[in-house]
Each structure stands twice: as structure tokens, then as C-alpha cells.
């Protein structure tokens, strides 16, 4: 079983905080990797919050391919951070040659684009870069979005952190929102893209568990949106559905829960909004999930959410202080990073809830 965790904070936190959240839970995962998505960035990226940030792991040749593409498409390079790794011997990491985090300015004609057109431009650019790098076998592009940084690597999370100087807390990388996970895919091949969290057009998601409706989810999602690709992990389906329901259909967030874990028909029959719920259930039957799982997600508005499968077969707990809310598979992670919190206020979401943490760190519990 995997472990997942996230932090949403009023003051920017550094990745080591996320590592401290995750490492006490290590018995539950195999320490085979580390992946995180940071949003609402501070530190060295604080001056470019509105400019798309490219997160890239690649070879030198891959970097060249990316640069060529971006130049050809009139993206203007603004700033860049290439971590200088700590290559001390003995570290358990299968590192790529280069990690590049680069801010771009939009092409000139983007000035006349609507928000939606810009979003599509960023997505299409990422997809094009991914295709180029895949075909050449020269690297991975994880996200290309303003104020979002993604790092994924294979190895022991502690060593990965050492490699990237994440233990140093040097103020370079800071964010008010971090979603993290410390394991590589176990069900399918180990592919860097398969490591949670996943990112798509402002939506971040990681999941702990198994989606036994993976095949039917995948078969349906493939035709729903060009951004729903890869499917290296069954958990990507959760992200695609979140994106589809909230971004494409523009339905209120609560209906995400109704789509992935619909109420039983008998319960729907007793509801006032049964016509709506039954219509959703039948039209999006192929997006229902089954199996045990817990989800942590971040919306484009930076709100953080968590919810579980319909039988609550995977654990999750939300802990909070005045300045920070953290979500964790196990409470030991919370105890590590917020030992002084009031534990009686910890929330163990049930199978019919979505817990939403807004930007004021107000925690709302929505019953399905």
C-alpha cells in the first residue's frame, strides 16, 4: 500500500516538510521514489508566479530538443533553475542528467488569448514536448503551468532529497502547497510518468490505492480529452475525471464525488436531487471508480481536497494548526510535522465526504 501526503500552509514551506510528513510512514511504502508537486511558489520563482514554469528531467540532447521547440513556438525564456546535485557516492537514486525548471513568457500573440486559450496552449505545448522527448527517449516533462513545479525521481526519498539539497532548507524552493508521495509504481512498469502526483491544467492529484475500474476508465477517458494520455498508472484516471468534471463539464466540485463513487441506487431514490444524480450516474458510469483508494487533489484555485472510495478501504487523516493543514495517509506523518496540533480536531473523512481546504485554511466537509 502506498502512502500519500500534502501540506497547505499560510506561510511557504520547503520540501523537507513534505519529506518529514512522508518518512515516518515509510513502513507502508517501499521508499522507491519521491515525487512532489509544489504550487503557489515562493523562493526563487516568486517573481514569475504568472509565467508558465516548465518542469523537466532530461538529457543534454533532450534539453536541446525542448529549447528548439520552445524557440520555434515563440516562448520567451525568462528564468531558470537547474539544481546542482550532490553527487556523493552511495546515494540511491537513478538520476536523469539534468533537471530544469524554467519560466517562460507566453508568445506575443497570447496577449489576445482568452484564459481558456492560454490553458490549451500550455497543455498542447506540454503534450508536444512530451511527444518529442518520448520519441527521442531523451527525457520527461512533468508540468508546464504558472506557479507549479513538479519533481519526480526514482530512488530512496532521503537520498533523492540529499541529491537535490532538499534537506538544506536553503529557501530556494518554497510553496504554500505541496503534494508528495514516496513510491514508484508497483502494479505496472516503473516509469517516471507513473509516479504520483499527476498534473493537468492546474489540477494536481495523487492517490493511494487501486482503481479496479482502470480499464473501463481508461477506455472512456481516451476519447474524452487529448490531455488524457499515458495511463501509466491506474491513478491517473482519478485526475482525468477530476479535470473532466470540474474543468470540462464545469460542474461544481461536489459532483466529482458523485461521479467517482456514486451513491447506491437505493439511496439515490430517496434523494430530492435524484434526477440529477441518476443522470450523472448513467452518463458517467464509465468514470466510476471501484477498489480501495484515497485521493488528494489540488484545484487551479489552490484549494486542496481529499476523499475516499465508497467503502473507505484506504485511510486518510487531516490535521491542522492555525497556519497549516496537512493531509496524510497515516497520523504518524502529522505527528511528525505538527506535534503540537490539537489532535481532537483531526478529521478522518468518511466514505461519503469530500474535505475541501480553502486558501484561508478553512476546512469544509461536504457530504455527498
Amino acid at each position: 500500500m502506498c502512502r500519500i501526503g500534502s501540506i497547505k500552509s499560510k506561510v511557504p514551506v520547503q520540501p523537507s516538510k513534505a519529506l518529514h510528513l512522508m518518512l515516518p510512514q515509510q513502513e507502508g511504502h517501499d521508499n522507491s521514489g519521491f515525487a512532489m508537486v509544489m504550487q503557489d511558489l515562493y523562493g526563487i520563482f516568486s517573481n514569475y508566479k504568472d509565467k508558465p514554469l516548465l518542469s523537466l528531467a532530461c538529457t543534454q540532447r533532450g534539453e536541446q530538443l525542448v529549447a528548439d521547440y520552445m524557440d520555434a513556438h515563440n516562448f520567451v525564456r525568462l528564468a531558470e533553475w537547474i539544481p546542482i546535485p550532490d553527487k556523493r557516492p552511495g546515494l540511491d537514486i537513478k538520476a536523469m542528467p539534468y533537471y530544469i525548471f524554467r519560466n517562460y513568457d507566453y508568445p506575443e500573440d497570447a496577449a489576445f488569448m482568452s484564459k481558456e486559450e492560454k490553458e490549451n496552449l500550455l497543455l498542447d505545448t506540454r503534450l508536444a514536448l512530451r511527444k518529442i522527448l518520448d520519441e527521442a527517449g531523451e527525457g520527461y516533462v512533468y508540468s508546464f503551468w504558472p506557479d507549479v513545479l513538479t519533481l519526480k525521481e526514482i530512488g530512496d526519498p532521503r537520498d533523492i532529497a540529499t541529491y537535490f539539497h532538499l534537506w538544506d532548507d536553503n529557501g530556494c524552493l518554497c510553496a504554500k502547497s505541496i503534494v508528495a508521495q514516496c513510491r514508484q509504481n508497483t502494479n505496472y512498469d516503473i516509469v517516471r510518468y507513473a509516479a504520483h502526483p499527476f498534473f493537468l491544467q492546474g489540477y494536481t492529484l495523487c492517490a493511494n490505492g487501486e482503481n479496479t475500474f482502470y480499464t473501463k476508465n481508461k477506455e472512456f477517458q481516451k476519447s474524452l480529452h487529448r490531455g488524457y494520455i499515458g495511463f501509466e498508472s491506474d491513478s491517473q484516471c482519478f485526475l482525468n475525471t477530476l479535470h473532466y468534471v470540474h474543468h470540462e463539464l464545469k460542474w461544481p466540485l461536489i459532483y466529482y464525488k458523485h461521479v467517482i463513487t456514486p451513491l447506491p441506487f437505493e439511496e439515490i431514490a430517496d434523494r430530492e436531487d435524484k434526477d440529477t444524480l441518476i443522470a450523472i450516474r448513467q452518463s458517467l458510469a464509465n468514470l466510476e471508480i471501484n477498489g480501495p483508494n484515497t485521493i488528494i487533489g489540488v484545484l487551479p484555485t489552490q484549494e486542496m481536497i481529499t476523499c475516499c472510495d465508497s467503502k473507505k478501504l484506504r485511510p486518510v487523516v487531516v490535521g491542522r494548526t492555525d497556519d497549516m493543514v496537512a493531509i496524510s495517509s497515516e497520523v504518524c506523518g502529522l505527528n511528525e510535522i505538527m506535534p503540537d496540533r490539537d489532535q481532537t480536531k483531526d478529521i478522518y473523512p468518511n466514505e461519503r465526504e469530500i474535505v475541501v481546504i480553502d486558501n484561508n485554511l478553512e476546512v469544509q466537509r461536504w457530504k455527498q
Binding site: G209, L224, P252, P264, S283, L284, A285, N286, N290
Partner: protein, 543 residues
């Protein structure tokens, strides 16, 4: 001595031979009385018998004439192997035995093609039996507990729109329906298939209907039953229970006179309308009810004289799929105010995917279900050549149709129901589960129901006499003496018990793969021990 003619029919030319033991026979006559086919009769026979009646052995040879049971050597009144003689014999003196030397099929065409009921006796292969549920949840995710967890065993019947087509508006952060959507009912994924009053005896039809009522009212399982093309009792049409019935319309329109007359008096809508285009047992051939079965009550319900009733192979005036949608679907939808789903049933065919594609692309979005009936479906009457030599297996067809929809992102919009051989080997739940994993939303079955009522027909040529009006079990006959053999309540109970077991067995299959909803399209849950089948269906080959 008269010379025997080679063209004379002997009992050894027939499919079944009667094995009779005169020493066990008590001459009660039950077997002769109960044989509805008149395949046996009583004959006087001269026998030599040695008996000893004294206290000491004193054998005496006697020549005497005594009655015996003999099989009739006839191509019209022949033994069908039904075994009713064996069933009634108090002393195990008689039983039919399969005759491997039979020449019956060859010889029986003096009066035209052979007609019979039942299923195909040649293409009874079972793809489903080489498929097993092979993806078991264990350490990656826990299995569910079939006894403890809840399961949502419901399937859609009706046209499902894509999410983008749903007419929602957002009011106070909530989605509110703002427009008409096609009717969709969530029903039990096992539909009782269309067997008409006429094909079935009134008692048999009533027993099936009674089971449906019980399953709905007492067991909470929304099982639906198709009327078959033969109308329905007016009292039922005008009752609350109509909601459990799918009214069938086929090319003969039998029974629709009464249905239309009953419409103003209906207190509820039917569960659906099923337009029958074709039938798996005899694709491209119409319905057939031979005059022997057109009894007075059948004449009354259907509004016809006593005659052989043939539904044409095609609906009159139907030239294309577009017309099917525009004329038939639209008119049936309109007839019930667009409140009742209208589905269509076709025989599985090499062209099924084209038909399904057309229905999926229909701009009116009024086709509420596509029923595909495979070659192993049963029938009350057909030409044997159709039964044995025409048709198409349903398993790969369901898969093809599902994948055709997947390719277009339209899966689930027109629910797929597969039938024809479901439950052939006794376990309909396993068959249904596998069909659903391959893409069916549910299954329909008919033969298994009448087998539960007592039908002993099988795919090895046993009985298959549904067309004759002489059904020894009182199921496919209108002869009041035969019909009386069927106990309605016990028959209904048998069906109810079977469906309750079906429900439990379905859970027993859903739980190990960790699904609380039906695994429609979960082909990853299946594996096959047959490479060709695995490749054809796109599932894992295992050995």
C-alpha cells in the same frame, strides 16, 4: 412370408429407441397414457414364458398372448426422448435411449423441411467456458465480502446521453435538470426473454410472470420480462404490474390490437418496448406459431383465426436502419409519450456492429437498448436448417459492439444486452458476469426459464418439440390436458429461487475482483485458456 420393404421405417431409424422390460412392467398403462407424442402403444404379443408355481421347482413352458409396450415406427409419431414414460413408470420398466444409428434427419423431409423447437443441436460450442475470472484482488487491493458488503447490481435500460448533452443548469451551486432527457430505467441485469403466450402455455407464461412479480415485490430485484410477440392479458395490461413488463412488437404485430385498445386504461407505463427484428435461433426468418398451438385463447389475444401464424422475416415498410429509427422507434416512443424506453432486438450477425454504429449515431437519440441474440438462442418453432445452420455466436459480437462504441467514446449510451445460450450449462450468473466484463450491460434468457419450469429439451436432440403442441411438460402447448401437468406456483418458485441464487452468485464473482458495481467492460478481469478466444476478445491468454 411377406417380404420386408427397404423403405419401411423401423424404430432403429429413429433418434430414440424405447428400452422396455416386460418382466418389470406391471401393465398399468401410465406410459402410454402420458406419451403426448403417441410414440408407444400397447400391442398383444405372443410370448413363451417358463414359470414354476408349485412348492417344488416344476417349470412349465407356456405359450400365451399378453400385452406389451411397443415403440411406434413412424416419422410423425416418434419418440422425442422426453422421458415422460420413465418418469411415470412405477417400476422402471421403460425408458428412451439415444440411437446412434438414427437416420431420422435424412428421412423426415417427405412433407417439407423439418420443423422443431429448442436450440441449435450442432453449434453448441461454448466460448464462455474457456473464459475464467482470472484477475482476483488479493494484495494489490482487497477482495470484497459477498456476504457483508453491499453491491449495486443494476443496469440501464434506455438511451443514455453523454454528460455534455445533459441539460443541466447550475442553481445555487447545484446541478438542476432543465430539459427532457430520454427515459432510462435501472433494472436487474437479467431480463426474462420474449416468449409469447402461444409459444408458451398460458400456465407457463403465468408462472414466469408470477416469478417476475414476486422478484420485484418481495425480493427487491427489478427483473423485467418481455411479453414476446403475442400480446398480454388485458387485465395485466391495465394493472400496476405492467411496469415490470417489456412489451414486444414484432413483424406480425400479434397482440397489438388489444394492447392499443388497453392503452387508455393503463394505470402505469410498461417497463419498455422491445422491437424484435430478428432472433438468434432463426435469423432472417420470421416468427412461427403452428396451428396446433393456436388455441381459442391464443386466437382471442392475437385476434386471428386458427391457422399457422407466421410473422414475416422483415417488418413491412422497413428498408433501412434509418427508417427503423425514424419510423419504428419514433412511433413507439411517441405512443407512450417519450416516457418509455424503446429497444431493439436483432439476431447476432456479421453486420451487428454496423447496426449498432447506426443506432449510436442516430440524431434523435431514441434507441434505448440493443439486444443481440446469438445462435444458441431457443425458439418455439423454426426450420431445423435455420436452427442448426444459420446464426452467429453472441460472445464476440457483444465484444465487437462494445469496442466499436469505445472507439467512438460512446460506450454505455445504448445499453447492450446479450442473449442466446445464457445459462446453457446451468450457471447463468457466470455467463452473465463474463458477458458484462466483455461489454454487455446485461443479459436476457428464455430457455433456462422454461427449463426451470420443467422443460427437458437440450442441445443433443432431446424433445425439441415445442412446435408440435404436444409438449409433455405442459410448457409449450395449449392442450389443456398437458398444460395441467405444470404447477404454476412451483414453477414460479423454481424461477425465483434460481434468480436469487443468480444474484448471490453474481456477488460471489464481483467480490473477488473488488467491484461493488457491475464490471461492465472490465475485460481485464477475464482470462482465457484458449489462445484463439483470448486473441479474438482481447483478453489475456493463460495456460
Amino acid at each position: 412370408m411377406e417380404t420386408v420393404r427397404t423403405q419401411d421405417v423401423g424404430v432403429n431409424d429413429l433418434n430414440w429407441k424405447i428400452e422396455y422390460d416386460p418382466l418389470r412392467c406391471t401393465m398399468c398403462g401410465s406410459c402410454v397414457a402420458s406419451c403426448s407424442f403417441k410414440a408407444i402403444h400397447v400391442e398383444m404379443q405372443r410370448v413363451d414364458k417358463t414359470v414354476s408355481v408349485d412348492n417344488q421347482p416344476n417349470p412349465v413352458k407356456r405359450h400365451e398372448a399378453r400385452p406389451v409396450i411397443k415403440q411406434v415406427a413412424s416419422l410423425t409419431d416418434y419418440c422425442r426422448g422426453c422421458g415422460i414414460c420413465e418418469k411415470v413408470c412405477p417400476n422402471n420398466a421403460i425408458r428412451p435411449v439415444r440411437n446412434p444409428d438414427s437416420r431420422q434427419t435424412l428421412l423426415s423431409k417427405d412433407h417439407g423441411p423439418i420443423k422443431r423447437g429448442g436450440r441449435t443441436n450442432i453449434n453448441a460450442q461454448r466460448a464462455l467456458d474457456s473464459i475464467v475470472v482470472g484477475r482476483i484482488s488479493q494484495m494489490t487491493d482487497p477482495s470484497l465480502d459477498a456476504a457483508r458488503h453491499t453491491f449495486d447490481i443494476r443496469s440501464p435500460f434506455g438511451r443514455v446521453l453523454s454528460a455534455k448533452e445533459l441539460p443541466f443548469k447550475i442553481v445555487d451551486g447545484k446541478l438542476v435538470p432543465a430539459g427532457h432527457t430520454p427515459p432510462v430505467h435501472w433494472i436487474y441485469p437479467l431480463i426474462f426473454s420474449d416468449m409469447s403466450i402461444g409459444a408458451l402455455s398460458t400456465r407457463a407464461w403465468e408462472a414466469v410472470a408470477l416469478a417476475v412479480g414476486y422478484l420485484n415485490e418481495k425480493c427487491g430485484l427489478p427483473v423485467r420480462m418481455s411479453s414476446g410477440e403475442g400480446g398480454m392479458p388485458v387485465k395485466l395490461l391495465e394493472s400496476e404490474y405492467l411496469k415490470y413488463f417489456i412489451i414486444q412488437i414484432a413483424s406480425g404485430h400479434f397482440g397489438w390490437n388489444r394492447i392499443i385498445k388497453a392503452m387508455p386504461h393503463m394505470v402505469t407505463d410498461p417497463a419498455g418496448i422491445l422491437i424484435k427484428i430478428g432472433q438468434g435461433a432463426k435469423p432472417g426468418d420470421g416468427g412461427l406459431l403452428q396451428s396446433a398451438k393456436v388455441a381459442e385463447h391464443v386466437q382471442a389475444i392475437r385476434g386471428v383465426p386458427k391457422a399457422t401464424l407466421a410473422s414475416p422475416p422483415n417488418h413491412q415498410g422497413l428498408y433501412s436502419i434509418e427508417e427503423s429509427v425514424q419510423k419504428m422507434h419514433l412511433s413507439m416512443n411517441a405512443a407512450f409519450g417519450f416516457r418509455v424506453p424503446v429497444a431493439i432486438k436483432c439476431a447476432a450477425s456479421a453486420t451487428s456492429v454496423s447496426v449498432y454504429n447506426n443506432l449510436l449515431r442516430d440524431p434523435y437519440k431514441i434507441c434505448g437498448g440493443f439486444f443481440i441474440d446469438g445462435i444458441q438462442g431457443g425458439t418455439g418453432a423454426a426450420n431445423e436448417v435455420s436452427l442448426d445452420h444459420t446464426g452467429h455466436p453472441v460472445v464476440s459480437k457483444i465484444r465487437d459492439c462494445y469496442l466499436a462504441a469505445v472507439k467512438q467514446g460512446l460506450q454505455g449510451q445504448i445499453p447492450l444486452y446479450g442473449g442466446g445460450g445464457i445459462g446453457m450449462t446451468g450457471n447463468a450468473a457466470a455467463d452473465a458476469f463474463k458477458m458484462m466484463c466483455l461489454g454487455a450491460n446485461g443479459v436476457f434468457c428464455g430457455k433456462v426459464l422454461i427449463q426451470l419450469l420443467g422443460c427437458i429439451g437440450n442441445e443433443q436432440g432431446r424433445c425439441n418439440s415445442c412446435n408440435t403442441g404436444k409438449c409433455p411438460m405442459g410448457i409449450c402447448t395449449q392442450d389443456p390436458r398437458l398444460v395441467k401437468r405444470l404447477d404454476i406456483d412451483r414453477g414460479a418458485q423454481k424461477i425465483v429461487d434460481y434468480v436469487l441464487a443468480f444474484d448471490n452468485e453474481l456477488k460471489k464473482l464481483m467480490a473477488p475482483i473488488g467491484n461493488s458495481s457491475l464490471p461492465i467492460g472490465r475485460s481485464d478481469a477475464l482470462v482465457s485458456t484458449d489462445k484463439a478466444i483470448a486473441d479474438r476478445l482481447g483478453i489475456q491468454y493463460v495456460c
